[in-house]
Amino acid sequence: MSGRRLSQGGLIDRSRLLRFRFDGRDFTGHPGDTLASALLASGVRVMGRSFKYHRPRGLWGAWFDDPNAVFNVRLRGDELPNCPATTTALVDGMQARAVNAWPNAENDLKGGLDLFHRWLGAGFYYKTFMWPDWHLFEPSIRKMAGLGAVDGKAIDGYVADQLHDDCDLLVAGGGAAGLAAARAAAEAGYSVVLADDHPTLGGSLYQGDEPIEGEEPQAWVAAQVAAIRAAGGRILTSTTVFGLYDHGLAALAEDRGFARAPRLWRLRARRTLVATGAMDRPITFADNDRPGVMSLQGAAEFLGRYGVLAGQRIAVLSNNSHSAPIVARLRAAGAEVIEADPAEGAPRALGGKRLSGVQIGARKIDCDTLLVSGGLTPTVHLWRHAGGKLDWSAEKAAFVPGAGPDHMLAAGAANGTFDLDPALAEARAAALGTPHATGASGYRVRPLWPQPGSKGRQWIDFQHDVTLKDVELAARENYVSVEHLKRYTTLGMAADQGKTANMAGLAAMAAIQGRPIPEVGTTTFRPPFVPVPMELYHGTRRGQAVNPLKRLELEPQHRAAGAAMGEYGGWLRPAWYGPEDQSAITAEVQAARQAAGVFDGSPLGKIEVMGPDAAAFVNFIYYNTIATLEPGHIRYGFMLRENGLIFDDGVIARLAEDRFLISCSSSHVAGVEAMLESWRQDGNDPDRIFVHDTTQHWATITVTGPQARAIVAALDTGADPATLAHMTLTEGRFGDSPLRIARVSFTGDASFELSVPASRAADLWQAVLAAGTPLGARPIGLEAMSVLRAEKGFIMVGKDTDGETMPHDLGFDVPRRKKKAAFVGDRALQTEAANAADRRQLVGLRVADSGTVLPTGAHIVTGDGPQRSIGFVTSSYFSPTLDRPIALALLESGQQRIGDRVQLRHLGQSLSATVTAPCALDPEGERLNA
């Protein structure tokens, strides 16, 4: 027979019964149980199938170290894949099924795959499925191997809280050492947080029956908890410290129950104590993955915490002194225990789905359960996350924490101190920062590592089905570094991250190569320590909250006017006004060309640069000469990076001798401001230049078109638009508010940018529309504006330029040749690359008037020989003004190709066009002053 529930003992509540289903059968358990403990108590042995070979598997461990029992669990309509049975608390009504098995784990149709294991070694798919193409086989192989399936339904309200907190001391692990340390520190006045992943504190104290400091474990734990709380310490149970990061940041996942997202704690701890205990190592022998072969420590946990005896006739295979109290405890609970020494001979597990015994050399032991202990491995994951080093202890045959950052501490079994009383003393000293030397260890272990060349299939990584032979194969193929071994065989890459596999794997490699274990070393330990849902990381930052949009002062007015709102460079802006895009955009373009368009230009950057050195400063920042700009005048120009590439374009106005207003692109305001600040503070006297971003203080309404002047004249501004020349600026009044009128044009028609303090935006919008509507004006959105500017060949940075575009590629060559003063990027415009004849230059493309609009992104290709891309379409629209398609493109030696016929390719489609100048409408600029 196999596991059974004892009538007493454990931390469960036998007075209540919980019902659940596993693989279609009904079971019961008690509050305090996990799915694994309840199944073990019910005599279930096979709880899963292995990843690759579909081998039957039973429980190995009792907590996070179990690689085998992985379930899809459904509860009241919510389903979660890949729940470890050992750490999933039992809830009444749960329906669990083993992953990667059909129809169930006990009788898996794919179990026959194991017969072909000879051909399915490490990396077999790289070697076997080469012809004709791996991708042909990939889907079915992926389907054959794997873990749980997602049901595709999002769980309502599955949102993780995120809390930020800090403390003097974080104690990771609530076993004996952790509790003792937390109490000592709390009573010494430190703010302490103790976190443990179990619902019940006490760690491994329930495994044996020895008293702790003269008390029963439960009583001792309760006393520590009371003392910690009394001293102001905080205790978080069911909370895993899953990662330690730089500067004392710890990430904790607090379990809030099945199908509820865990709560994330971002805890900044001045000191962190790793008291995470130690794990039992498997022993590597033939068929060591048979259901019924369990970790000795796991069996002790099932007995101590859940009152479950793992088997009736139990063989124990151990190489260390840690097993004696557990064996005594198992015997006291009524099991028949036969101890064996693994040194007697090479062991082999006997039986199939049910273990029938173990052969050790010539000796055969009949048993239903085989408990193995290959020695204790300190849980050093968190220590390594924080940059702590590991030392090899030959005496303990384990890696133990070595040198570490000052704020990191380790104590107890995690520190290799496996004896109880020394662990307590060490933990208290660590908590108080008092010097302490841990004495000689009572723990005895005989090293026992995988034996390369030995017979049988010997599992190293249970969850990813990696055997000793796979490690040997990797070594033969020269994947000898542990990092290569890991990636070639996938050892340690399963959901359990090799908690039981890594030591065996690196010890096997050490034995194969005849190198000492510490020389082979470990792979990198990275967070998270156990799998955590992605929801933990984003918390409530989902949907729009991931990157909140900037909102316009006039959004209600736009919506009232029927605007379709869209995101443009981080701003929510009107795309067009009306229910349907194409007809609305056409109407808006036509209105702007024939009467006037009214456009909300508020997001346009408005960065003021002031001070006695401001003029020299902007002259240095800009590609164009700004020093000669007169107050009241405006100039178009580029800002470059030091590598000569265009960073931003826009107009700059000189408001006064010592005051400039930079209108950078709407989406670049933060970047331009940071660039200005960098140059201001690094290389200039920051007390003689001031940079001030006023973008959101002012709202800007642009009126553009033949009727623009009349509309502005109708407003009572005190300024006369008729006398305002193109590229000049004046100040007027709007009621009792200041008003700036800038005459610039992004459309090729006379345009006025009217700026008022943001609080007056609605009044100005209303006034402009009231004046404009009788003249045929209408609001226009971003899409119409894009067409209007493209008709004129005006660029948008980032759309019509890319990461190679310099200003002379757009036809702005004068400052490069003539500007005397230094400016950002100047030298980079004189390099060989900058002077190359085949640079991509801005051009227009014209297709037949009846032709279709070219796809944006279509490549212009060479006509003869092997085709090569020589450019691409950057902007492409149907122009309602010209009644034909228009397009802009970046094309190699584009200026010299004007008039040429070129071929284009797009998604298998061939197109053709004629290269033209970028400006398709009114190249003489007559409309500007019409």
Binding site: H247, Q681, D826
Partner: protein, 93 residues
Amino acid sequence: MQLFPCPFCGPRNEREFHYVAEPGKTRPDTTGDITAEDWAAYLYDTKNEKGPVREVWMHLTCRELFVMERDSVTMDVLGSKTLRRTLPAEGAA
């Protein structure tokens, strides 16, 4: 997540900062002749040192530049100081 000390605002989350430059690098006088090699060295050569490093960072929320010393191996922050040669006197307008 690292904590960086802004000389003006105190310790803040690393997300509030941007790396700006390596200190001590002087922009060549571009009104004179500069070889392509010298310009490339100015643009691209960084020391990328292991161990204690000095770097110019910007605290984006107050927009001040400062020099931070830190250890590129241990990630320990060793100190920070303002780029300003003179700070405005306290209470001065």
